[in-house]
Amino acid sequence: MRWLGNNVELVTGYLVSHLWLSAVPIVLGFLIALPIGWAAHRVPAVRGVVLSLGSVLYTIPSIAFFAVMPAVLGTGFLDPLNVVIALTIYAVAVMVRFAVDGFASVSSAVLDAATATGYGKVGLALRVQLPLAGPVLLAGLRVVSVSTVSLVSVGALIGVGNLGRLFTQGVTTGNNAEIVTGIVLILAIALVFDALLVVTGRLVLPWSAGARAVRGVGR
């Protein structure tokens, strides 16, 4: 605790950049994965390509992925963009799978009924399929959020400032408190993000919590 007291400014700086470096890929990954997942759900050929590409990309170890980014993007070796883009790609890779499952979970009877009541293609996608796929999308977003928050710290190895720096500095100076601070803060960010997602889910998808309660009563 004394170490933390003496280094509040340093830790706050790392905390703020850690928040940015994880929030941006989570949000971008979600937004990019939605249309891809929707297309993959509709066209089986796209689905095959997208799902296998996703699993190949997710297989790549993070430090290696960060390190090859400059060659692919033409960025500098210590550019935080390397981490942001690599983590966005990971997020898309995971999220697309959940998006495909989510869209597939919408019953075709509901889609027929919506079409019969006059929904066009776009209205159907945005106002019927998207909300009904919501619970599965939320589950995916929670997985992406936890792993992204944890993976950002690996970026410290390629010189990107974030809470992971507390690990690399702590191990060179033998400072236990510094590393523990890093672990606790990263776990705290993961918990806060997860709670935010769950609360947002309750607000945006009120029926999914309600449905669960009703089913619970039935039992």
Binding site: T59, I63, A64, I179
Partner: protein
């Protein structure tokens, strides 16, 4: 483009393929750590996972444990363990084992849970003992998910063994990336990254093939009967 071609030059330079710090030795070290980790983690996680899956006891503990261990930043685990074990292979191994346990545990109990309860009841009705039900019915039927657990554990360990090179003791392919970064030798960083990616992809493809084989056996069994 020049970064990529320099990395290619590094990868095809004969000097990098020999000696105690050459690519073959580092690759073998990486595989050695991975194998050793998996043996230890399996000895811990698989009996626990099978127990949870077979009896349904301590399920909440298992689920909570796997969730919590997953949220832990791996780099944090590696560095904190190294402060307490000293700089040698032990630090990396303890951290790697901790990281390999959640997917193995989840694969084992989720695998057993995926077995149709009617099948288990039928096996009991035939007079099978608990052990027979476990080994002859549940484990064979859970095999694809069990192998899935090994697959994600192995990939996780290969990835983490790379960042374990942050602690000066261990070798492995992470040495190229992290030493390269320290020396501003970017071709070495890129070359090392390409090697790690290749290793992960080869291992993943092998597991994918294994998983497909085990699933096919499972599907074809009823036909043979």
């Amino acid at each position: 483009m020049s970064v990529a071609s320099e990395a290619w030059d590094w990868l095809t330079d004969d000097a990098n393929w020999s000696g105690p710090a050459g690519i073959p030795v580092r690759t073998l070290e990486h595989l050695e750590y991975t194998a050793l980790t998996l043996v230890i983690a399996t000895a811990i996680a698989i009996p626990l996972g099978l127990y949870i899956g077979h009896t349904g006891r301590f399920r909440v503990v298992g689920v909570g444990l796997t969730g919590a261990l997953r949220a832990l930043p791996t780099l944090g685990v590696v560095t904190i363990v190294s402060l307490h074990t000293g700089i040698d292979l032990t630090a990396a191994l303890v951290a790697l084992v901790l990281i390999a346990i959640p997917p193995l545990l989840a694969g084992a109990y989720a695998g057993l849970e995926s077995v149709d309860p009617a099948t288990v009841d039928a096996a009991r009705a035939l007079g099978m003992t608990h052990w027979q039900v476990l080994w002859r019915v549940e484990v064979p039927l859970a095999l694809p998910l069990l192998i899935g657990g090994f697959r994600s554990a192995t990939l996780q360990v290969i990835a983490t063994a790379t960042i374990a090179a942050q602690v000066p003791g261990p070798g492995g392919l992470g040495r190229f990336i992290l030493d390269g970064l320290d020396l501003d030798d970017y071709p070495r960083v890129m070359g090392g990254a390409v090697l790690v990616i290749a290793l992960a992809l080869v291992v993943d493809l092998t597991f994918a093939a294994l998983q497909r084989l085990s699933a096919r056996r499972r599907v074809s069994t009823p036909e043979r009967v």
